[in-house]
Amino acid sequence: MTSALKIVVTVKQVPDPNSTFALEADNTISREKEVVLDPGDECGVEEALQLKEAHGGEVILVSMGPERARDAIRKGLSMGADRGILITDPQLAGADALLTAKALAAAIKPEAPDLVICGTESYDGSTGMVPPMLAELLGMPQLTVAKKVEVDGTNVKVHRQTADGYQVLEAATPALITVTAAIAEPRYASLKGIMAARSKEIKQVGLGDLGIERGESAETIEGVTDAETRKAGVVIEFDGTAIDRIMQVLAEAKVI
């Protein structure tokens, strides 16, 4: 059975993974860097669009970030999403996972979606803590690390990647899903899509609009130091003796 799906996809703008990072003197990540829509989120948008194509419905992109995060939303709209919501507020600078989840939940709740799709983890933070918090705040079950999603009426089924294979998870909608990069190959935005995206709505909201106050953060940064680095060893060319050198190291480590 097919019924139209209202799908929210959370999207994040991240430093371009294909360029190198730079740190400012105060240990914040340089803002000069190229930014892109998180490649993992692109896969989330793609999955949402495929579900919409199969079931009908609407795809809404929600992002939290500075003004320029509008570009990340615009990218998803040019792929075919219907509209966007940008949560931006100076008070959100340096927001921790809980504040981020609270802001996203407040923006998503009034939409009453059937599905919320998030990337399993962002490319820059890679901790994946926002989705379970968001599921809790929205009162939804979480179906996570999905490499495959199937929707049948109000039943949603995912294949959840595990250390030794996968689990088949099922729940009734509304539900929150996190997807991996293996879920779907993101489409390129067509010229028509890029043109159409220009006139699609991106609603901008601040913390006040969402009725949220920035409370005390879960943590305070006390300092940042250089990570302990391993001492560099010997670097040799692959020549007649290289294999013997490797064998010697393996023997010293008692693995042969």
């Binding site: 240990n27 996972a97 809790e136 595990t162 250390a163 539900a175 300092g223 064998m247 393996l250 693995v255």
Partner: protein, 319 residues
């Protein structure tokens, strides 16, 4: 003494290795109570006692094994209501982070994730968290009670201290409202003979392997050394090998006697998961690759020539 809880993750009846790693840190920080949920919880209590838990709260309801995250969140929240600890430790694993995230949101306390270490400081807790891809370490002081901290697997070496835990049955009923994300089937795909996390030798391949067709070269070497094969995120994302082989921040953490990185440049994403290996050997065509700066031995050259030559040498030596 600080009151410290350890969420002792069970995987289908078996106590996770990470739970015992957390015990090492927990008993250093305060009086430890562990929480074990699902099949095998009572049996695990014995082991947790030997590793320093004074009390183990157990609950063997099938819901903990059959439904993702929510039943465990309910149990922890209920126990917290009876008396909040100062600190709750979770492993930074796929299953534990689902529970920790929900709990942190429900209790409105937030959390600190991906910590490599944790110390007491002025009566509070300060977590050491890799930052900026692992090049830096941030010291984060926890502001809330309970502080919820997720610690990376393999951060500590488990050790027994002797002792017997008092086992307490957790009196909480898991309602139908939390039985939602239903695990209806578990499919095992990995056919690896040696588990990546437990292997004494790990040989990992990256983009420098040229393509998935060349990964059998690594399997051959692993076979000769009795080791396991891992991979970088780049080649997992490219679909060359399954996610179960990924080593790194978002994959598995390994700490073998010897780690051989083949055709892996050494992005922080990867090195966070293997840099505590005892010996690191890097094989790469680029002498300037970051992995060369952390390897005990770096060999510059064509991986597709070096790996078979090494396999032959290991086999010859065994004869």
């Amino acid at each position: 003494m600080a009151k410290v809880w350890v969420y002792a993750e069970l995987n289908q009846g078996a106590l996770s290795a990470t739970a015992l790693e957390l015990m090492v840190k927990a008993r250093e920080l305060g009086d430890v109570e562990a929480i074990a949920l699902g099949a095998g919880a009572k049996a695990a209590a014995d082991t947790l006692g030997k590793h320093g838990a004074k009390v183990v709260h157990v609950h063997e309801d099938a819901a903990f094994d059959d439904y993702l995250a929510e039943p465990a969140t309910d149990a922890l929240a209920a126990l917290n209501q009876q008396g909040a600890p100062d600190l709750i430790l979770f492993g930074f694993t796929s299953d534990s982070r689902e529970v920790a995230g929900r709990l942190a949101a429900r209790l409105e306390v937030g959390l600190i994730s991906n910590a490599g270490d944790l110390v007491r400081n002025d009566g509070g807790f300060v977590a050491k968290v890799p930052y900026f891809g692992g090049a830096k370490v941030a010291s984060l002081k926890a502001n809330k009670k309970p502080a919820i901290v997720l610690i990376r697997p393999k951060s500590f070496e488990p050790s027994e201290v002797g002792g017997t835990a008092e086992v307490k049955e957790l009196a909480v009923t898991i309602g139908d409202g939390s039985k939602r994300a239903h695990i209806v089937e578990r499919v095992v795909e990995a056919s690896e003979k040696v588990k990546l996390e437990d292997a004494k030798v790990v040989i990992s391949g990256g983009r420098g392997m040229g393509g998935p067709d060349n990964f059998p070269l690594l399997e051959d070497l692993a076979g000769a050394l009795g080791g396991a094969v891992g991979a970088s995120r780049a080649v997992v994302d490219a679909g060359w090998v399954p996610y179960s082989m990924q080593v790194g921040q978002t994959g598995k953490s390994v700490r073998p006697g010897v780690y051989i990185a083949v055709g892996i440049s050494g992005a922080m994403q990867h090195t966070v998961g293997m840099k505590t290996s005892k010996v690191i050997i890097a094989i790469n065509k680029d002498a300037e690759a970051p992995i060369m700066k952390m390897a005990d031995l770096g060999v510059v050259g064509d991986a597709l020539k070096i790996v078979p030559a090494l396999t032959a040498a290991v086999k010859a030596k065994k004869r």
